[in-house]
């Protein structure tokens, strides 16, 4: 396949921290590609190197067959939508959008035609002569996109473009972004720390952590078949089990012994041998929960447990069930039926937790600290706040790292 945009062995260091650590990445023409990861994972640095605001310590960036690694930002056919829009405050919306074409010294009537076309696309004709301080967040966002797209870039970079908007507007803008992408067909590179945004807009996602790429794939691939514990825990929620293969069955299945639990049946897609260590990830919605022992086929696992916590959330209910001595399983049960007619499952109820053997997914890489990313109910009052404090302090650090 023809390489369109290619990051080749990119490394970038700020002081003693490696912001980007030997990353190689190939992006196809016309796709929406997301760089997803927590703050400080290197996604913004990667984007800034593509825009030309940083240069890599090692490696090459090749766009459409041309090495652009050392090209100045104003010489690249790449335009950026900045996190806080970075509109020129002293210019009107019209002048902001026209800025790029004016620099190219295009004829006046061409500039007018193009700007009007852009204004039409973003539905901002009525606000053309307002200053950025006089328009709303969503309008600023659209202006910033139009300002970048008017130059017909090969690649449009979007750096957390929705971070400054409120939730409702964010969901709307996400759909608008997809519409704009369909209309212009330009390659979008979308940087975000919000897995929901990345999942809903992207053709493919690269999940990043600590300057490295953990996994690249379609949204469904990274969700259903995570390669590492980080990907499994960062995207959505999951349950981890670690154990040993105790028996390899001939029909591509195996039995896994987890301490304190009865052996589990699991699909052995990694072709592991007896005695090997294995880490399983099972998504909360893959479990069934029932008060009576379910009658299921041979390819199912069933565990008895006790309900520890119940959180009703309208479309689904979240259960935390204690199984064995010390295992807590997070279960999400979708409400496809009228809930009030059913016998409710309550705190301290004895329940059966079951799942299909194929739904446990074997991870290639496992790190214990990724368990901190999982949703767990607080055990003591105040625990949540402490966790938040920790989060915000690490975020501050990350901001310092990525800032120049």
């Amino acid at each position: 396949m023809e390489e369109f945009l290619w990051f080749k062995d990119i490394t970038k260091q700020f002081g003693s921290t490696k912001a980007v650590d030997n990353v190689s990445l190939s992006i196809r023409k016309g796709e929406i590609f997301s760089l997803l990861g927590p703050s400080g994972c290197g996604k913004t640095t990667l984007l800034r190197m593509l825009a030309g605001f940083e240069s890599p310590d090692k490696g090459k960036i090749i766009l459409d067959g041309q090495d652009i690694t050392d090209l100045a930002p104003n010489k690249r056919r790449v335009n950026t939508v900045f996190q806080n829009y970075a509109l020129f405050p002293h210019m009107t919306v019209w002048e902001n959008i026209a800025f790029g074409l004016k620099l190219l010294k295009r004829p006046k009537d061409e500039i007018k035609r193009e700007v009007d076309r852009m204004l039409n696309m973003i539905q901002m004709q009525d606000h053309a002569y307002k200053k950025p301080s006089q328009i709303s967040g969503g309008q600023k966002q659209r202006t910033a996109i139009a300002r970048a797209l008017i130059l017909k870039p090969s690649v449009l970079l979007l750096d957390e473009p929705l971070a400054a908007l409120d939730l409702k507007l964010r969901q709307r803008m996400l759909l608008e972004l997809s519409l704009i992408h369909d209309e212009v067909g330009v390659t979008f590179i979308y940087v975000t720390h919000d897995q929901g945004e990345a999942m809903s807009i992207s053709d493919r996602i690269a999940v990043m952590n600590n300057g490295r790429i953990e996994q690249i794939g379609t949204p469904a691939e990274v969700y259903e078949a995570p390669k590492s514990s980080f990907v499994a825990a960062f995207i959505g929620d999951t349950n981890f089990f670690d154990g040993k293969i105790s028996e390899v069955l001939d029909d591509e299945y195996c039995r896994i012994t987890v301490p304190d639990l009865p052996p589990m049946l699991c699909f052995n897609d990694k072709k592991l041998a007896k005695g090997e260590l294995v880490h399983l990830s099972i998504r909360p919605e893959k479990f069934q929960i029932s008060l009576d022992e379910p009658k299921l086929g041979p390819k199912y696992n069933v565990l008895p447990g006790v309900v520890e916590d119940v959180v009703y959330q309208g479309d689904h209910t979240r259960f935390w069930v204690e199984v064995g001595d010390d295992w807590r399983i997070s279960i999400s049960r979708q409400h496809t039926r009228f809930v009030l007619d059913e016998k409710p499952i309550q705190w301290k109820d004895k329940v059966y937790v079951s799942w299909f053997a194929d739904d446990g997914f074997m991870l290639e890489r496992y790190r214990e600290e990724d368990e901190d990313l999982l949703q767990t109910p607080p055990q003591t009052v105040g625990e949540v706040e402490e966790a938040q404090d920790r989060d915000s302090s690490t975020q501050d650090l990350a901001v310092n790292e990525t800032g120049d």
């Binding site: 030309g52 605001f53 100045a72 509109l87 002293h90 800025f99 790029g100 300002r147 130059l151």
Partner: protein, 261 residues
């Protein structure tokens, strides 16, 4: 009903009198036909007539304006570039730079005057209007830098990156995006510098040579020669000019506010 306290009223009027009574007396005395100003000797315009006939005063005013314009212009250019450099680059050398720029703001003027004088003498530079201009640039520059720097601190640097991203080179980025956005800071710094330069006595006193007398220095020598009524007239004229300038500024400002809303 709560009894109204008289204290705020008394304080307000007391403060106003304290500030403005001397100025009022000065204006009054400029029309007083008595040389000493001890009592009212009748209304007269003679001090104004004399004032406009005294050539030294006009020469001093001319010097003051030349010094103020040149040093303001120079300190705007140097101060703005210094502020941009201070904002953009960080490091130990920049800390030194900041310290250097900041020093003239806190060092007593008399020290600055003496050191500049010693400096010029050591280099055998002839004192004159040139030395006054150089001396004024040294302190005006700090005010411009500080004014621009504070403006830059509110400025989102991503805007410059956006300009680069959209195809601007350093030159167009600076002139079309950076300068228009920090212009209020530059103007404020420039006005401050101009006022300080016109106003300065201590430093000018040390470094002004013969023929480079500025207005404040000339006024000082007039007091020593005892021409009080002339000074009163001159001060009234200056006051009127200042008042007019503020009035015009206010009118322009109000018009602008009316146009945008």
């Amino acid at each position: 009903m709560i009894k109204k306290s008289k204290v705020p009223g008394v304080l307000t009027w007391g403060t106003l009198l304290f500030f403005y009574l001397p100025i009022f007396l000065l204006i009054l005395n400029s029309f007083n036909n008595s040389r000493t100003g001890g009592g009212w000797g009748g209304f007269t315009f003679q001090w104004y007539v004399k004032l406009f006939q005294t050539r030294e005063i006009w020469h001093a005013l001319q010097n003051t304006l030349i010094v103020a314009f040149v040093s303001t212009l120079a300190s705007i250019v140097i101060g703005t570039t210094a502020a941009i450099a201070l904002h953009r680059y960080k490091g130990r050398l920049q800390n030194m730079h900041y310290f250097l720029v900041y020093t003239p703001l806190v060092v007593p003027e008399i020290l600055l005057g003496i050191s500049l004088l010693l400096f010029f003498v050591a280099l055998k530079v002839e004192l004159g209007i040139g030395t006054v201009i150089i001396a004024h640039i040294t302190f005006c520059l700090s005010y411009v830098t500080m004014a621009v720097l504070s403006r830059l601190q509110d400025f989102d640097m991503a805007i410059l990156e956006a300009a680069r991203d959209l195809g601007a080179n350093t030159w167009t980025m600076t002139w079309q995006v950076l300068i228009p956005n920090i212009l209020p800071g530059i103007v404020a710094g420039g006005l401050l510098a101009f006022t300080l330069s016109v106003d300065d006595f201590v430093i000018s006193f040390f470094v002004a040579g013969p023929g480079a007398t500025t207005l404040p220095i000339h006024i000082y020598s007039m007091i020593r020669r005892g021409s009080m009524p002339l000074i009163n007239a001159l001060s009234t004229v200056l006051l009127a000019v200042t008042f007019l300038a503020i009035l015009i500024y206010q009118i322009i400002n109000r018009r602008k506010a009316g146009a945008t809303s």
